[in-house]
Symmetry: C2
Subunit: 181 residues, 2 copies
Amino acid sequence: MQDGRGASMRGAGSADPKPAQAGAGLLFLREDEIRVAQDLLFFAYRDFTNAADVILDELGLGRAHHRALHYIGRNPGITVSDLLAILRITKQSLARVLSVLVERGLVAQAPGTDDRRQRLLSLTTDGKALERRLFDRQRERLTAAYREAGAAAVDGFRRVMRGIMDNTARAYMDGAEQARP
Amino acid sequence: MQDGRGASMRGAGSADPKPAQAGAGLLFLREDEIRVAQDLLFFAYRDFTNAADVILDELGLGRAHHRALHYIGRNPGITVSDLLAILRITKQSLARVLSVLVERGLVAQAPGTDDRRQRLLSLTTDGKALERRLFDRQRERLTAAYREAGAAAVDGFRRVMRGIMDNTARAYMDGAEQARP
DNA sequence: CAAATACGTCAACAATGCTGCCGCAACGGC
DNA sequence: GCCGTTGCGGCAGCATTGTTGACGTATTTG
């Protein structure tokens, strides 16, 4: 694999330092830092979500079901609208997933007390058990990563991730911290 | 459009502090830390990838095309096999995406010199330009997050993300660092 | 009562993943 | 030079998960 630029496999720019780049050294480093972060997000997210796939496949469920279980578990009694706002998918995409979860007895629904049009969603005992199994798989990966990296790194991780998401998501997470004493 | 933040958005949960949790304080904290990380990964990944979607939509391309452009750009002269190994999708999924990129003149192919069966992939001038537009959108988000969080946090972020991905992905990234002095 | 809201549902479609199978050109060992 | 393996292309078909748009129904609210 000869790529014209000399470097093997990794092309862009080592032997050919983009002569016209102003302030080259620093700018190039910053750009490459960002590109590394793109890779980090792609690989980490992929491998993290993959961790639960074995269990999901056995049950004929998908990641969408896992996400629903996760956010219902974290917000028992949540309404469909609020869940839609968190997941940012359409009503139909969610309905498809929810109907399966309800059929299988993983999610329970209760009419709203204030507003009886609402369906308040929560996990059944089975739902909680499944969510826990899925959670445990992902936890393995995360605790390993946390342990290796150390507490300070974890704090940095959290800060950067928080910064990447948009304001709405940040607000949700702030609410979550607040509401979970 | 119902924006669905009318009610608390946080469900009923917090009034019921799981009384039977053994060793409650510490265990619960650790578990909740992991659950927060699940949220972080979901929201950050979603909003980060969304950043490029406007441009992609205009061109009728998807995220899969973006990923291909990204990894070809980072590895000019890469073979189809190597690209498959990075993306971990099937040949057919990649072929579908690649054929579009080649048709539109965004990706160029050259027969391998060692092994003429190979197609060595690289970005054309147009491909580089598009990749850069997409990159710039994501860069905005990341640099903002990096700036807010600070250099130490960024280092922690990298360490944790590296720990989450699997060995193969880590090895790829190490190769990348190594080859980019 | 009328309008707005929360939700369900149907039909159709798109993007991206998958499997399995076949074919061809090129490489490499014998 | 032959033959097995490899790198790649292509077809057919299918699953998951997302989308839009429209319509129905129960319920709340002005």
